[in-house]
Symmetry: C2
Subunit: 367 residues, 2 copies
């Protein structure tokens, strides 16, 4: 029996044309495009067109999710009934997504063709901002806001969540975040959606499983923590003492270090640019604190390259754009579901079940 | 970059002491015990004690799920509100399970210790029969029946679903089915629950993902189809003509052939025994039809061993025991969630994220 490396690390379990990460170069791409540049220059709508249909507008007609964001009445009621006791937006998304798929009779991916599968994933990705915003507003005693099909996906999400059309720079910061986090190699949630897709299950079943993996502390992280850390430190002048205390206590420093990147995380660069463009006290402090922490970490481990990861600048950018921390993880869900959807479509074309083995290492059975 | 075999077939991705399948011997085991013998001799309660706590009663105190089967009021309401439009029991289970985990504040598996994780999975496996039975009865205009903590897990499931305490042989047939299908190697749903667990997510997130994989046609199958086939054929005297027509049309014959077993599926043997013990017209016809189909298939492919798989006899045994086909797949869920739970506990001990890679095969990116 062939034995896989622990955690399947470094093992290529699929071929993909969706994108990849080159950690040593600090580079990642969607299809053949630099993903950080796409985040700087393109809308969510353009980039999802690239991921789902294979080319950017205007080469490919832009996908318009506008008409797909509205929830069926039953699902609005479901979100409303769950919201009082269900703080976890990822759990609400999962239940609401299964309900939409059932009401609209989504079929197992292997029982339908590409056109129908594509329709299913577009519908399912489109409802995520609507669910997140509705849940957020219900939790906070605010009236839900219906989707506006005339807006872009990012703008409508912002409006449904915050109740207002935000300033251009704030809106661009959120859109950069959304584009930058759509896909990122073969992480555990992407792999999960592909394993479930490989059984032939519906796209909703695959995406729901992905949200489960995303909820894991080793995966989705907790972007709110980086913001809490900045508030705890206060300003750059306190950073060295704070980091030293953490290193002495052998505690982890949130937002620094990455499993894959050995050069600066390109997502962090884009999001720092977005935060700097808006500017203000938090942006200034975040920049100063980052510089001090990186200097300290370089002194502490001179032979290693410890970089700022996406969590730090995601928290700052979303925070400066006016998002409350409770919306950080759900906003990640709004973007990542687009990447998973591309993987559902690619895996469904493969059509083969992913069914590994295990090595039995217990007492010899008495047959 | 190392490339995995397609579908990860034959690749050992984990070490396990939970059990294994020896396809060429027609043998599978839970821990060190012949699983088919456990199905003949033991209750669900005994066998889940073996899988969760590592030894059989009386060596290990038997786990009693009785007090854990009751649903919180909010979750009863949730099941009731979903049932009118949600025919799919696996979707209802997923939503209800997330709600219980949220109401009872289940934490990510890597943030808690074994005792708390064990408590979480016992609670989550215990509610599945209650959810399934409530959903089934609501769908059929019947009043739900509350769990009775004094009954065994299998007997209470039967009572909650059918509304009566069934005859001993029928009850034993269902219990044999439940024990025989708790675990079966590293199938796609088991692997899915382990991948999600490896992110540190809650047990509920892992199990919910497992139900998604189970819902796939390549995984859970559709045990109802085998019963429909028997009804379509009628009796053994019509089997040859029916099979010949299928072979001529190059259509699949439900319930025959297995990816792993080259000898008779040991689960099929146990369930045939259970069906024979109850007896009656359906059992007689199923036995006669099976013999004819196997003879035909042996003539058709003399160099291959095509065996009856569990789907055929599962359908017959559950059907003879008085279960409607719409409860076949949910009943599989009642048992398989126990096996997944053992895998959640084992994977959580490992503590390492499962994060494979993919090989990018698209156009070279313009970096």
């Amino acid at each position: 029996m062939e034995i896989a490396p622990p955690g399947l690390k470094g093992l290529a379990v699929a071929d993909t044309t969706i994108g990849a990460v080159r950690g040593s170069e600090g580079f990642y791409h969607y299809r053949q495009y630099n993903a950080a540049d796409l985040a700087r220059e393109r809308s969510v709508d353009d980039v999802l067109t690239l991921l789902i249909d294979g080319a950017l507008p205007p080469e490919m007609p832009a996908i318009d999710l506008g008409a797909l964001r509205e929830l069926p009445r039953e699902v609005e009621d479901l979100v409303d009934s769950l919201s009082p006791y269900m703080a976890d937006a990822l759990a609400v998304i999962r239940s609401a997504m299964l309900a939409v798929a059932e009401l609209e009779e989504h079929q197992p991916v292997l029982d339908i063709g590409h056109v129908e599968r594509r329709g299913n994933v577009l519908r399912l990705m489109a409802i995520v901002p609507t669910i997140v915003a509705r849940h957020y507003r219900r939790r906070n005693g605010l009236e839900p806001i219906a989707p506006d099909p005339s807006l872009t996906h990012a703008a409508d999400y912002l409006r449904m969540a915050t109740g207002e059309v935000p300033a251009e720079l704030n809106s661009r910061a959120v859109e950069k975040y959304l584009v930058a986090t759509i896909d990122h190699g073969f992480n555990a949630s992407t792999f999960t959606t592909r394993v479930v897709t490989s059984t032939g299950a519906s796209a909703a079943s695959a995406l729901v499983a992905g949200f489960g993996a995303l909820s894991g502390p080793l995966h989705g992280g907790a972007p709110g923590r980086a913001l809490a850390m900045i508030e705890e430190i206060g300003g750059a002048e306190n950073a060295r003492a704070w980091v030293q205390a953490k290193l002495d206590a052998k505690e982890k420093i949130m937002g620094f270090g990455h499993a894959v990147y050995r050069a600066e995380d390109p997502r962090g660069i884009v999001l720092r640019e977005a935060a700097e463009a808006i500017g203000g006290d938090l942006a200034d402090r975040a920049i100063g604190i980052e510089a001090e922490i990186l200097a300290m970490l370089a002194e502490w481990k001179p032979d290693q390259t410890i970089v700022t990861n996406v969590e730090y600048w995601a928290a700052v950018a979303l925070g400066i754009a006016g998002f409350p921390p409770e919306l950080f993880t759900p906003t990640f869900a709004v973007s990542r579901v687009i990447g998973w959807s591309a993987h559902v479509l690619e895996q469904a074309e493969d059509g083969k079940i992913i069914r590994p083995s295990a090595r039995y290492v217990g007492p010899e059975p008495l047959s």
